[in-house]
């Protein structure tokens, strides 16, 4: 029977990654709140700082779902469990960050646009993306045959991601209101994106990316440990019947 001491200790690399993550998160917070200048009032003034969290969250969301796509293809080709675990882990984290995008957006939009939600191209395609991977996670939890979960989920992981560009173009033509890149970042009218704002933005992007890597490593470790516990329970059950 396995005891805690027999389980693999937490790898040192994971702790180092955690330390790097939280250091960069602290640095990014300082830069975002104290170095980046206040934005023009038409962009929401102080409220515009939410952009330093909103955009990196969106980036992590897309990164996660791209990983789900690639890991799903790799799983269908090789059948190796680790790809399925990677796809599952990335989908869960992607949902968390896409949810953050859908929460931070309206907080900014309410005072600036005067409405919580607009059926605008980028908002709509983000919502479609979110619903697609909610469906993906439901499929994982509802599959009746546990052995088939990986295969079924991989199909949705691939099909869902193939749909992203088509959804993007169709809602783009449908209607668009969302400000793109520099408009949101513009700190003062006509001044463009200043060095302090760019520094804060890229620091935040780095912090979010490290946070993603750390969360993904933790989630993969949990998944591997869960597989191991399952295996040992089966072995024990087999040993008891002998």
């Amino acid at each position: 029977m396995a005891t805690a001491s027999e389980l693999r200790p937490r790898p040192a690399g994971l702790d180092a990654l955690g330390a790097a993550t939280w250091t960069s998160v602290a640095a990014a917070l300082l830069l975002v709140f104290f170095v980046a200048r206040e934005a023009d009032v038409t962009m929401g003034g102080q409220l515009q700082r939410i952009f330093y969290f909103h955009v990196p969250s969106a980036w992590i969301g897309y990164l996660s779902f791209a990983i789900v796509f690639l890991a799903s293809i790799a799983y269908l080709r090789t059948g190796a469990c680790r790809w399925d675990l990677l796809a599952h882990a990335a989908a869960e984290i992607g949902i968390v960050f896409t949810t953050l995008v859908l929460i931070t957006g309206p907080i900014w939009a309410r005072p600036v646009w005067g409405t919580w939600w607009q059926w605008d191209a980028r908002l709509t395609s983000t919502l479609v993306l979110w619903l697609t991977y909610i469906g993906y996670l439901f499929l994982r939890s509802l599959a009746s045959d546990q052995a088939a979960v990986g295969r079924l989920a991989a199909v949705v992981g691939i099909v869902g991601f193939l749909d992203v560009p088509i959804v993007h173009f169709s809602v783009q033509w449908w209607r668009t209101l969302h400000p793109s890149g520099p408009t949101v970042a513009n700190p003062t009218t006509g001044s463009g994106l200043g060095a302090p704002e760019l520094t804060a933005f890229f620091a935040s992007l780095l912090a979010f990316t490290l946070l993603f890597c750390w969360l993904l490593s933790l989630r993969l470790r949990i998944g591997r440990l869960a597989q191991r516990v399952e295996l040992e329970e089966i072995e024990r059950a087999v040993a008891e019947t002998r």
Binding site: L76, T124, L131, G135, L142, S144, V156, V159, S170, V171
Partner: protein, 233 residues
């Protein structure tokens, strides 16, 4: 006797599904009944055509028409593997000496037949009941419907096969399929609303929505053919 080809086997499999439906009548008839009730319920939300804003009315009419087709279609697609599942015949079906993609194409063809019959009943009937003014654009509407059906059936059949292997088939199919079908739905809606507002085929074809529909059809028919093997193993 020589081995039958891919096309022949696919046709046999599709013909089998259609023959079962002709005898049992347990998919198409409920689909039609469901479509009629959806249309009835939606009718109460329809603004009066005489209320003034013709553009809004055209969009609402087109939207209701496609919502009805989408919901009734998903109800029908949900039953794609019902016969095999209920009789425990899925394993026998998998033993048919044919490529899995033929299985996908045959199931998609029988679903296509269902949805085409549904539309052949629903579209003229709703044109009659809701006084659609299509003028001479029926031909253009048929082209739009054909492109929409292809993508709808490809996604619907693939996801129906997925959902059939879960504990909650009826809920999971729309949950998975509706977000994926958003581009098809928007394109169908825009094109149909244009036709209702009196645009000709050329004006509609120039709007680029046909491009979205064709791209969707190509991507998802290909994805269905390639991925079906992974769904049924």
């Amino acid at each position: 006797m020589t081995e039958a080809g891919f096309v022949t086997k696919t046709m046999w499999l599709a013909a089998k599904d259609l023959r079962i439906e002709l005898r049992a009548r347990d998919t198409l008839a409920p689909m039609l009944g469901f479509a009629a009730t959806v249309a009835l319920v939606l009718a109460f939300a329809l603004p009066e055509a005489s209320s003034g804003n013709v553009g809004v009315v055209a969009y609402v009419q087109a939207g209701f028409m496609w919502v009805t087709v989408l919901f009734a279609g998903l109800i029908g697609f949900g039953r794609t593997f019902e016969v095999e599942r209920a009789e425990g015949a899925l394993d026998s079906l998998l033993l048919v000496p044919v490529d899995r993609s033929a299985l996908f194409v045959s199931k998609a063809l029988s679903n296509l037949a269902f949805i085409v019959v549904l539309e052949m009943v629903l579209l003229p009937l709703s044109a009659l009941l809701f006084a659609y003014d299509l003028g001479g654009s029926w031909g253009a509407l048929v082209a739009v419907v054909a492109l929409v059906d292809l993508g709808f059936v490809a996604v619907g059949t693939l996801y129906a096969a997925l959902a059939a292997q879960t504990r909650s088939r009826e809920l999971l199919l729309p949950l998975l399929a509706l977000p994926a079908l958003v581009p098809v739905f928007i394109a169908a809606l825009e094109l149909t609303a244009d036709l209702l507002l009196g645009a000709g085929f050329d004006a509609v074809a120039a709007r680029g929505w046909f491009g979205i529909l064709v791209a969707f059809d190509v991507v998802f028919v290909t994805a269905g053919v390639l991925l079906f093997d992974a769904v049924l193993d």
